[in-house]
């Protein structure tokens, strides 16, 4: 594995690592999408047959599990209710945010405000520097991926250890997660075996149990020696000032229990008005995310260690991240903020299932990735993703909070055209087409020309060659000509 270059030193942040266990080297990926196009990234990923098989196996399993989970329950009514709760929370976000901050501070949580990605990095790095933090353990957080937190902390000389098994592999390989719930869906057991063996300095048994055991031992050491734990958050609860978090491995629990400082980085849109809303949103998040009744661990954190409690962090900090969210409020794309990051739309998307999560270029893949990327990063940096969809509507059907992803994607396409991002030739062609089909005579003339032209290019009634001017379209599609009457 060429991407694996464990650090030479067996000591990080002044503390020794377990014998024979080298800290992974973090190799940050490209932070800008401008270097490659969706087409290039898709092509690269299509050349990895394992990925397509793995995605099909895993996502089919999850979708079947989800259907079984809700069979015989009032699933649609539950989703309607969830949609209402999310819409109400987002519409009233200013009120609920103020309430959340007041209640959280009353419980001893220190709240910080990050307007953008750079500020989030500065705040977290600043908290660590002020408190002499040498090592950080992290539980899975998509918000931290958004702001590229790891490279910022490592740049500040802090040892960062991802503790979710999949995220740990991603970090050690210098890779990026390819799915919100299953970060290493695109990696084989063989690749993990090779990586861990390189880290261990010996050939480990090639079986998931042993590989997990190896990671557990090293990560447990990291938990016990870390000064700070950094987590994300699945929900903010306005009524109580709490942060709710779901995990299966238990790393989220340990991250927020063992180190003396806990820092949660949470997007402001994760707001729920009340604790009671968890009873609606939790089963949908876990059911649509993995098909589970409930995840193994659900933590609802309301401040640092309390009086008389035997453990827990001395300080709890929450960094609220705007990062492009407030700009969507009240607008055409507001519903994108309803997302609870279950990954279900990704699982059913025919485009994602072929090209994988990395083809989307940034943090989020699938339909919600195609929506959020241009909204958070700008049209120039992700606008083409609104075309990385078949508009089949499978995402709308499965979304637990009924986000009209299909409409949002269409809206982004319209916006792209309005902003003149499409190439001049494409815009001229569509304009000419529009003019030609406005009148019956020119319409008939245009179809006659097209039929004659295509007949020249066709073999046995099928155009499968590159048609001049339409080469990019016909290179991947056959055009079957209708039989002439």
């Amino acid at each position: 594995m060429s991407a694996t270059t464990p650090r030479e030193d067996a000591e990080v942040g002044g503390r020794p690592l377990p014998p024979g266990w080298a800290a992974p080297a973090h190799q940050p990926g490209a932070d800008s999408l401008a270097d490659t196009t969706f087409e290039e990234r898709a092509r690269e990923n299509l050349a990895r047959p394992f990925q397509r098989t793995a995605i099909a196996n895993a996502t089919d399993h999850t979708v079947f599990a989800l259907q079984r989970r809700f069979a015989g329950t009032a699933h649609d009514a539950l989703r309607d209710e969830a949609r209402r709760i999310r819409a109400h929370a987002i519409t009233n976000l200013p009120t609920y945010l103020e309430q959340w901050v007041d209640r959280a501070e009353a419980r001893g949580t220190q709240v910080h405000f990050a307007a953008d990605e750079a500020e989030a990095r500065r705040i977290v790095a600043g908290l660590c520097a002020e408190r002499g933090v040498g090592r950080v353990v992290k539980s899975k957080s998509m918000a931290s991926e958004e702001v590229s937190l790891n490279s910022a902390l490592e740049g500040a000389g802090i040892d960062v250890v991802e503790t979710d098994l999949g995220e740990f592999v991603v970090q050690a390989m210098g890779d990026r997660p390819s799915h919100v719930i299953a970060p290493i869906l695109h990696r084989t057991q063989g690749e993990v075996h090779e990586l861990f063996s390189a880290m261990a300095g010996e050939d480990l048994p090639d079986d998931p149990e042993a590989l997990t055991g190896f990671a557990r031992e090293g990560l447990r050491h990291a938990f016990l020696t870390a000064d700070a734990g950094i987590s994300g958050g699945n929900f903010l609860i306005a009524e109580t000032g709490e942060v709710a978090m779901v995990t299966n491995e238990g790393n989220g629990r340990l991250t927020t229990s063992l180190p003396r400082i806990h820092i949660a980085l949470v997007g402001i849109e994760k707001m729920l008005p009340r604790r009671t809303d968890l009873a609606v949103l939790l089963p949908l998040l876990t059911g649509h995310g993995t098909g589970q009744q409930i995840t193994t661990y659900v933590s609802v954190l309301g401040g640092p260690r309390g009086a008389g409690e035997p453990d827990g962090p001395e300080e709890m900090h929450v960094v609220l991240l705007d990062g492009g969210r407030s700009a969507l409020l009240g607008g055409e794309f507001e519903e994108a903020l309803h997302c609870i990051r279950c990954g279900a739309c990704q699982n059913v998307c025919p485009v994602y299932r072929q090209v994988g999560g990395h083809a989307y270029g940034w943090v989020y893949g699938g339909p919600i990735g195609a929506v959020l990327t241009p909204l958070f990063r700008g049209q120039a940096d992700g606008g083409e993703l609104s075309h990385a969809t078949t508009l089949c509507g499978a995402c709308d059907d499965i979304c637990p909070v009924r986000i009209p992803l299909h409409d949002l994607l269409l809206g982004l396409r319209r916006r792209r055209v309005a902003e003149d991002v499409a190439p001049l030739s494409e815009r001229l062609a569509f304009r000419a087409w529009g003019l030609a089909w406005r009148h019956p005579a020119t319409y008939r003339a245009s179809t006659a020309v097209a039929r004659a032209g295509l007949a020249v290019l066709a073999r046995d009634g099928v155009v499968s060659r590159r048609v001049p001017g339409l080469a990019r379209w016909t290179a991947t599609r056959d055009l079957v000509l209708g039989r002439r009457r």
């Binding site: 329950t73 519409t91 419980r107 629990r253 939790l282 659900v298 609802v300 640092p304 407030s326």
Partner: protein
């Protein structure tokens, strides 16, 4: 640095969308995480807990302490920490474990010493509540945040009167008033399927969770 006022100003500066209103608690429809009509909470709890690989054993109050010791012996535990939320059972459990030859400490004493905590074979805790429809136990900051996770085996004592029907009953009820700085639901052993979707138990938390249901 963005302060609270300017951060909130950005959020509040946009026009308001359509507000569908907030559904009230009573309107919540049934979900997989709620008890179905006519179901026994204790039976549902056992079914759901066993479905996620929890060992569930029903014991009577008089036999609870010795059942804890037996559960620890069955797990091959030597060094054990017990949490203060065992309440009335704290002393009987301590005695039963000592009689069984186990090394017993209070979790509150062990927790500050990381090396000792890391060397534990098992922890024994009570709980704030248990949720029938999800097979979950609910612990709090008073139990100890890491008390249920730090060791390879977790033994949890649940009184029958602590079992609530479903998620709604838990989050709407008064029971969480005693939660302290946090509460957490846990449902079975720690698990991961990150490596090619192969299910592995005991990743960061315990691989063995044994619930003694005191009826």
């Amino acid at each position: 640095m963005t302060d609270r006022a300017s951060f909130m100003a950005a959020v509040a500066s946009t026009p308001r969308g359509h507000d569908p209103g907030l559904p009230d608690r009573a309107a919540a429809p049934d979900a997989p995480t709620e008890l179905r009509a006519g179901e026994s909470p204790l039976d549902r709890f056992q079914t759901e807990a066993e479905a996620v690989s929890t060992i569930v054993e029903r014991v009577d109050a008089a036999g609870a302490a010795s059942a804890v010791a037996a559960a620890l012996e069955a797990a091959g535990a030597g060094a054990v920490a017990i949490a203060a939320d065992l309440g009335d059972l704290l002393e009987p459990v301590r005695e039963a474990c000592r009689s069984a030859g186990l090394q017993v400490d209070d979790y509150a004493d062990v927790a500050p010493e990381r090396a000792r905590a890391a060397a534990l074979d098992a922890t024994v805790t009570g709980c704030l509540a248990a949720v029938a429809a999800t097979g979950s136990i609910v612990t709090t900051g008073a139990t100890g945040r890491a008390a249920a996770l730090i060791a390879p085996t977790h033994v949890c004592v649940v009184r029958a009167d602590q079992v609530v029907d479903g998620l709604h009953a838990l989050v709407d009820g008064d029971v969480l008033a005693a939660a302290g700085s946090m509460f957490a639901l846990q449902s079975g052993p720690s698990r991961s399927a990150d490596i090619e979707k192969t299910l592995i138990l005991g990743v960061h938390g315990p691989g063995r969770v044994h619930v003694l249901l005191v009826v």
